[in-house]
């Protein structure tokens, strides 16, 4: 609901704290979830998530929740599904280009982010494109799985970089929002890990600053 959605953005700081605590609980429950089997609890948890977040944020169940990095304004409500900030078509007064009766999701998002502890830092992180195959699945469970797996991996091997290209290309995003670029195996669809070669090129190009200084010489 539009009014509730805007309420959530106005209280983004509260939701940030709440989410942080909730995330800790979810990660702590990982052994339990594993025991029960993530597949078995996927549907009831996704059902609950859909309704709770649907009410609060007009959640669209993309399955890769990044609310904490978007000022608690769900980016999937943007008619262009932008995950990285407002487009160039925002109308005067901060209204949406496509739906002029709605406030721009990202004008709201920046507002929300400035109220949050880490919001202003996290909104600057480049988010990867949505993996559409995860639509409808629970991102709560994905966060639990991802963070727990990450902690296990960190214990095992601190040197291990990301395994998939998206995780590497959007490293900072993954740091904050692991569900946005999942690495842990999906319960139903197993994604094969692929090794990525080292960077093939390193540029030593003139920056604009160097170009100008050369010109003045």
């Amino acid at each position: 609901m539009y009014a509730v959605r805007r309420f959530a953005v106005r209280h983004s700081r509260f939701f940030e704290g709440f989410y942080r605590a909730f995330e800790r609980v979810m990660i702590g429950l990982d052994p339990l979830f594993s025991g029960l089997g993530y597949e078995r609890i996927e549907r009831p948890v996704a059902f609950a998530e859909r309704h709770v977040k649907g009410l609060l944020f007009d959640c669209k169940m993309c399955g890769q929740c990044v609310l904490s990095s978007t000022g608690m304004s769900c980016p999937m409500n943007c008619p262009k599904n932008l995950r990285n900030g407002p487009c160039g078509g925002v109308r005067p007064g901060g209204m949406c280009e496509v739906k002029p009766w709605m406030r721009c999701v990202w004008v709201e998002g920046w507002d929300g982010a400035t109220r949050m502890r880490q919001g202003a830092e996290r909104i600057r992180v480049v988010q990867p494109p949505v993996d559409r195959s995860l639509e409808g699945s629970s991102s709560w469970l994905r966060v639990a799985r991802e963070k727990a797996a990450e902690r296990r991996a960190a214990r095992q091997d601190r040197e291990d970089p990301g395994k998939l290209v998206i995780a590497r290309a959007f490293r900072r995003a993954r740091l904050f929002e692991p569900a946005a670029a999942p690495l842990a195996a999906e319960p139903a669809t197993a994604l094969a890990d692929q090794a990525v070669s080292e960077r093939t090129s390193v540029y030593k190009a003139n920056t604009p600053a160097e170009a100008v200084s050369k010109e003045t010489k």
Partner: protein, 335 residues
């Protein structure tokens, strides 16, 4: 049968081969001009609604000698025209530098990554990554909006293809595309206070150069550039300011209310209204804007968008004095 020829677009003005010079990301002339510290000029081409290649060459005729690269728009305003890819193919084969525009509105990640390889193979050196206008404003509002990427994830993906030599899936490219990556910016519309932060994010995502939307409000743009300089962004990417001549006060009003993301202050409209020859006044205004923008520190060039007024671009560039300035710089360097 004649042997198959590899198309080799070349730059007649500089006669430079296609391999990127040392330290450059691409072989494009635009990149060379910018890295030399010259004030660059790009211009937008009006794409034909035609399947005749001569129409493309005719449209490029007034632009090719006065700018460093021609932007081939990708169904801008969600209106259907000849594709950016088709135009870039035709122009790069006759040695005209092009900027391929990719909008996220119409194609998904599979199509886009393939297109980028194809474009680079044809000799396209510059790619401008755009989100794209919503389908509702165009001539076919019933179309499905794709928006699989947004401009940021598109930039990062192309950067990954170029620098790491892989598709987003992790599959390796045998030859990565050598491309100079561009992004758009719109400094004059809300949320104005965060537009510079958004630019920073685009640069972090992979933008090497920036082309802004129309600047008619130099005051807002000055404040924006102040913030850009404070953040040091002008040292990380080349910023080209967008300008264009308006035909009349009526056109200006129409653009303001019908084209997404265009801010034209009332003072400009008033000036056009009072003018005896609004067309001439629009041209004069554009030249003045270029000269004012030229004085702002951190601006690396201008991007001229003269929709249906391409014939004026030559005069505008000539009268603004940019090219004669460059000739002087070039002679100084040679002598």
């Amino acid at each position: 049968m004649a042997p198959l020829q590899t198309p080799e677009p070349y730059d007649p003005a500089y006669d430079v081969p296609l391999a990127p010079p040392e330290g450059h990301r691409s072989a494009s002339k635009l990149e060379r001009v910018l890295r030399r510290g010259w004030f660059a000029v790009t211009a937008e081409l009006n794409p034909p609604d035609s399947a005749d290649p001569r129409d493309v060459l005719k449209a490029a005729e007034p632009l090719k000698d006065v700018c460093d690269a021609v932007n081939a728009t990708d169904a801008s305003g969600a209106n259907c025209h000849m594709s950016s890819m088709g135009i870039c193919s035709l122009l790069s084969h006759v040695g005209i530098g092009v900027v391929l525009q990719i909008s996220c509105r119409d194609r998904n990640r599979i199509a886009i990554q393939g297109d980028v390889l194809g474009a680079a193979a044809m000799g396209v050196g510059n790619i401008l990554c755009l989100t794209g206008d919503g389908v509702g404003v165009g001539d076919q509002p019933g179309a499905k909006p794709v928006f699989d990427f947004d401009c940021m994830s598109l930039l990062r993906t192309l950067k990954t293809m170029r620098d790491d030599g892989t598709f987003l899936s992790g599959r390796k490219l045998t030859t990565p595309p050598k491309i100079f990556l561009g992004a758009a910016a719109n400094p004059c519309i809300p949320p104005i206070e965060w537009r510079a932060d958004r630019l920073e994010k685009k640069i972090r995502a992979g933008a090497d150069f920036i082309q802004t939307n129309y600047i008619y409000d130099v005051e807002i743009f000055r404040r924006y550039m102040q913030r850009v300089r404070d953040m040091g962004l002008h040292e990380k990417a080349f910023i080209l300011a967008g300008v264009g001549p308006v035909a009349s006060a009526k056109t200006a009003r129409w653009m303001r209310s019908n084209v997404p993301g265009i801010h034209i202050p009332d003072a400009v409209i008033e000036r056009l209204e009072k003018a005896e020859k609004p067309g001439e006044e629009g041209k004069k205004l554009c030249i003045e804007l270029i000269q004012q923008i030229r004085e702002i520190e951190g601006v690396a060039g201008v991007h001229v968008m003269a929709y249906r007024r391409e014939h004026l671009v030559g005069e505008i560039i000539e009268d603004s004095g940019i090219l004669s300035e460059r000739m002087a710089a070039k002679e100084g360097a040679d002598g």
